[in-house]
């Protein structure tokens, strides 16, 4: 977690007597800080509140005038989504490729991350950099060639096409995150286990995996998330059978004469997977986005 930027002794005398807590410096600013924080969180929550608010209204109420909360709460929009196949199959399709992708990414990335964190080998730095370039590659560049590639091998419009395509950025992401966590585990543990007679696979599963369990969780969460939020590739590689929820949403907007309530409800439902796990990863969000480098 720490970085190494040195504080020059002339700037701060770090050896000074430790007395009161950090609060003392921040103390007089508390009010200003609370105001900034409250305003910022309000700004973040307002659009989400509006989406939830709209999802609980009928279309007539939405279009007839602005109301800050639903006058007649209706769950019709949600009921439509859960009963209409063209809607709920979108969620199932999305979840299918996201889960396939997460499992693939993590299982491919685990051994590789171990290799990067423990050994030097021919071309290791170049390979590590090359992985990063793929995490950063613009999906727009890959949309067309992927379309051709997956059509050619007969995977077009299957969850596998999207799951494999998302490996482009998720495998590198998982390798980088896991490498960050694994490098935090002292190498002496590997050596001790070897001396104790553990074979490598047994050591990896029995001893090493529990030590980096939180890292695996964080990597899996970020693979899940980046696959879940991606639209361009998912939309390009599917047409009917494996159409993801994001594509269902965009089509309905243009086709059915703006069913705002339904659109809002579909949006709220896509936020839920993230909102459910957010509590468990709250301390790792920065680490995950920074590829395990914070």
């Amino acid at each position: 977690m720490t970085d190494s930027v040195a504080i020059r002794p002339s700037d701060v005398k770090a050896s000074a007597a430790p007395l009161a807590a950090n609060k003392a410096v921040a103390g007089p600013r508390v009010n200003g800080r609370v105001i900034v924080m409250t305003l910022y969180l309000l700004f973040l929550m307002l659009p989400i509140y509006w989406l939830v608010n709209m999802s609980l209204k009928t279309n007539t109420e939405i279009t007839s005038g602005l109301t800050l909360w639903p006058q007649n709460i209706t769950f019709d929009n949600y009921i439509t989504i859960f009963t209409d196949r063209s809607w709920y199959s979108g969620y199932i399709n999305s979840l299918t490729y996201v889960l396939i992708n997460t499992v693939l990414s993590i299982s491919f990335a685990l051994p590789a991350a171990y290799a990067f964190s423990r050994y030097r080998f021919l071309g290791d730095k170049h390979l590590f950099f090359w992985l990063l370039t793929n995490r950063m590659a613009p999906p727009a560049v890959f949309a067309l060639p992927f379309f051709n590639l997956y059509s050619a091998i007969g995977l077009f419009d299957t969850p596998w096409a999207v799951a494999l395509a998302h490996c482009l950025f998720n495998v590198p992401l998982a390798v980088w995150i896991l490498e960050g966590f694994m490098s935090g585990v002292p190498r002496e543990i590997d050596e001790t286990a070897a001396i104790d007679g553990y074979s490598f696979p047994r050591f990896f599963v029995k001893i090493f995996m529990p030590l980096i369990a939180s890292g695996v969780g964080v990597a899996a969460f970020f693979c899940f998330m980046f696959s879940w939020v991606e639209l361009l590739l998912a939309r390009t590689l599917t047409s009917v059978a494996a159409k993801p929820i994001s594509a269902t949403m965009t089509r309905t907007v243009s086709a059915s004469g703006m069913d705002w309530g339904l659109l809002a409800a579909a949006g709220v439902l896509t936020i839920i997977p993230g909102a459910l796990v957010i509590w468990f990863v709250r301390n790792y969000i920065a680490k995950g986005f920074a590829l395990g480098r914070v």
Binding site: A14, R120, F121, D124, M136, A137, A140, P145, W260
Partner: protein, 298 residues
């Protein structure tokens, strides 16, 4: 402690190498292939050499003009985004509560926009900013300001920028917060004993400690805003006119909309080279920091 040299480690890396090569190298070869050919449909291809690249990099041609327009638009967008999100992110990180239950609450609420699917982010703002049914658009219009993001280019830009600030400022803030948390209390106590002002504490303790995470944040935000596609695509579709057609949107229009394979492929390669160059800067900074950290620990 140095890593041991062991070329058998390649066996552990091989699966990743193969799957990423399959998803990255193979498609890129197709792109290179297209970029030097011309097609008139029917799967008939003709050798065109560097023709597309010459056209693309010459702003006086149609293609080149279009490419440079989108490129400058994208760079301008990235610049605006960084100018707003970085200072705001630092301010929010400094305003974060330090202890108690409010820490967890703030973290959760701040992280929420980051986890929303990008097309839904577009949808949320599409609805929120509408003059008739959206809270923001309605309020702004009723304040007497003529605001319509589907008709006025400036309004469209403002909406997209505000949307991106809403979506991604928390990332900068969370990264800075992680940097701030690593500052030992003793530093603050020392500063207090020295009678340092709030500004001096920020300049000499907090900013240096945040330097590396801030660099990561700036680079991540630059890369992601440079590749932005989904949110503006949903919100404005690149319009009004071409006002918000960023590079990614333009590329997809060219490739999947008009099926201009050669032009799109040439544009893809140039786009990718730009990204590659920035990526290298990013990598150097990331690994430079790692190396120094190991040096200190050893």
């Amino acid at each position: 402690m140095t890593k041991t040299l062991n070329n058998k480690a390649w066996l552990l890396v091989l699966p990743v190498f193969l799957i990423v090569a399959f998803s990255a190298v193979l498609p890129l070869m197709t792109v290179v292939n297209y970029s030097v050919q011309d097609t008139f449909g029917n799967n008939q291809f003709f050798w065109n050499g560097v023709g597309w690249f010459q056209e693309l990099l010459d702003p006086s041609t149609d293609l080149g003009g279009r490419f440079f327009d989108s490129l400058w638009r994208t760079l301008l967008f990235s610049a605006i985004i960084l100018l707003i999100e970085v200072p705001l992110g630092i301010a929010v990180a400094l305003a974060m509560p330090r202890e108690g239950w409010t820490v967890a609450l703030s973290l959760v609420l701040m992280a929420l926009p980051l986890l929303i699917p990008w097309n839904v982010v577009g949808t949320i703002w599409q609805v929120f900013a509408r003059g008739d049914i959206g809270l923001l658009g309605w309020v702004v219009n009723h304040l007497g300001i003529d605001y319509n993001y589907t008709g006025d280019p400036l309004d469209a830009w403002i909406t997209i920028v505000v949307m991106d600030v809403w979506h991604w400022t928390s990332l900068v803030a969370l990264l800075c917060y992680a940097g701030l948390k690593s500052i030992p209390d003793a530093y603050y106590q020392a500063a207090r004993i020295d009678g340092a002002s709030r500004w001096a504490v920020f300049r000499t303790i907090q900013l240096p400690k945040m330097r590396r995470v801030l660099l990561i944040a700036v680079l991540l935000r630059f890369m992601d805003s440079f590749m932005i596609y989904t949110e503006p695509f949903v919100l404005t579709g690149g319009g009004p006119g071409n006002a918000t057609t960023f590079l990614s949107i333009d590329l997809v229009k060219l490739a999947l909309g008009q099926f201009d394979l050669g032009k799109a492929a040439a544009m893809s390669l140039v786009y990718n080279l730009i990204i590659l160059a920035i990526c290298w800067v990013f990598y150097t900074i990331m690994t430079h920091g790692d190396a120094r950290k190991e040096g200190v620990e050893a």
